[in-house]
Amino acid sequence: MILVVLPAHLRTLARVEGDVQLEVAGPVTVRSVLEALEARYPMLRGTIRDHTTLERRPFLRYFACGEDLSLESPDTPLPEAIVNGQEPFFVIGAIAGG
């Protein structure tokens, strides 16, 4: 079970409270986690990744085990602590704006 921590606004859109728990089939990567997330919560499509290009939106970042994975290949395997659910995968919004 993969734990995903979403920004508050995305939790509101998805109508969930707290962390999201996901089953991810196959290799656990940024791409496979986000695909599982969007499959379960389709209202989040387009809010984290562009609908068409699937590129990360500019003001969001991906973190796992204290590491910024935003610029890594989305197919890079995530750390074991993410795979076994010991650590959450974070989608974080930039602290910016007013």
Binding site: H9, P42, M43, H51, T52, F59
Partner: protein, 395 residues
């Protein structure tokens, strides 16, 4: 007695204000979508409890929200909670916030770039929905004006959106350029007597008209003069801030341009300036009295570099002669130290008698007049900056 519902979009959420026909006491509901920019929300003329909202964020992009119960509850069309996450054909839901420009081979080639600030060509990039205009006859059909400027339409209640590519494709698209506020399609007027005819306006491209339901478009900017562009009388490139008409007379349009207030009596074939005795002819909003087609309203703003009212006095100006002769309306409006702005989608009129007029400010006030502009009162204060105001008359 009739009721009135005012729909207010702000920089940090949506608010819904309701009153009876006297329009003296108001109930405020909100914020809906707290923390999000709500560029616009509007109800269907066919089903007033069907509301559509454009919810946007620099972080999370565009969301389309819909309510079927007058704003008590909202959902993203096509993805109500608890329903299967795929369509019957297996395709994923979550398409309601997907605005993809038409790039088909037939129409895509001339649609790829527009003029950038430095004069070079720049790809079209979707940013947000500025304006939602529900159909006059079908609650499931809505037009969306977006930035970068294009016109989209849904025919399934907001579940999916498709571009009417003829607008960008008619030939002048590469000459359109963004103003300081972005290149947004902000005005959509549907002709009540001719479902094939629409008018739209874009900053900074100008006004356009279709006579075939959006397949083909014609720039309608003859008579506009803009000193700040290389060719002041160019076919496109004018920073039109707003256009408005009276539903009974859709061939007569009024325009608040960046500078200048204008009118046309031939559906946009030719415009003439009617700024007359306005203290400044810069501004954003313009609207028409619900029962007097020659009575129009503007809110003059000092200049494009000082987006606040002249002399710190918030004044609506009314012309009862279709322009040129204007009177200041000040009763109930702050007449000192007022430095708010009134943005282009932030004025509306109701159809009660006497006609109600409403506008919202960047300072978070929504002012209303229940007597056609003679007297004003703030019906809500201290909201986030107001981006849009719409009003519905209810049975």
């Amino acid at each position: 007695m009739s009721k009135v519902r005012v729909l207010v979009g702000t920089r940090k959420g949506a608010f819904i204000l309701t009153s009876d026909g006297k329009r003296q006491q108001w109930e405020v509901s909100g914020p809906h979508f707290g923390g999000w920019e709500i560029y616009h929300l509007k109800g269907s003329p066919v089903d007033p409890n069907r509301l559509y909202a454009s919810q946007t964020s620099g972080w999370f992009g565009q969301i389309i929200q819909r309510s079927d119960d007058a704003g008590k509850s909202w959902h993203q069309p096509g993805t109500p909670p608890g329903e299967p996450v795929t369509m019957p054909d297996g395709s994923p839901k979550g398409e309601s916030n997907k605005f993809v420009y038409d790039a088909t081979p037939e129409t895509g080639k001339p649609l790829t770039t527009h003029q950038w600030y430095d004069g070079t060509q720049h790809p079209w990039e979707f940013k947000r929905v500025w304006h939602l205009e529900p159909s006059l006859s079908d609650p499931d059909m809505v037009y969306a004006g977006v930035e970068d400027a294009a016109l989209f339409r849904t025919t399934d209640g907001g579940k999916t959106w498709h571009e009417l590519a003829g607008l960008r494709g008619h030939g002048s698209g590469p000459k359109w350029s963004p103003g300081a506020g972005g290149m947004g399609l902000h005005t959509i007027l549907l002709d009540p007597g001719n479902p094939k005819r629409m008018f739209i306006a874009i900053s900074a491209a100008g006004a356009f008209r279709t006579e075939d339901g959006g397949k083909s478009w014609k720039p309608i900017n003859r008579g506009l003069r803009s000193q700040y562009i290389p060719d002041p009388e160019a076919e496109v490139g004018h920073c039109v801030h707003r256009i408005a008409f009276h539903p009974s007379r859709p061939g007569v349009l009024f325009m608040q341009k960046h500078w200048d207030v204008l009118r046309t009596d031939d559906a946009g074939e030719s415009w003439r300036e009617v700024s007359g005795n306005l203290p400044t002819d810069f501004g954003f909003v313009i609207d028409v009295h619900a029962h007097e087609p020659e009575t129009i309203y503007v809110v003059p703003i000092k200049s494009d570099s000082e987006h606040f009212p002249p002399e710190g006095k918030l004044r609506v100006y009314r012309s009862r002669t279709g322009g040129n002769e204007w009177e200041a309306l000040t009763k109930g409006l702050p007449q000192s130290n007022c430095y708010v702005n009134v943005l282009r989608d932030a004025m509306a009129v109701d159809t009660l008698d006497p006609c109600g007029v409403y506008f919202g400010t960047t300072g978070g006030q929504v002012y209303a007049s229940a007597d056609g502009g003679d007297n004003w009162t703030p019906i809500v204060r201290d909201l986030p900056g107001v981006l849009s105001v719409e009003v519905q008359k209810l049975p």
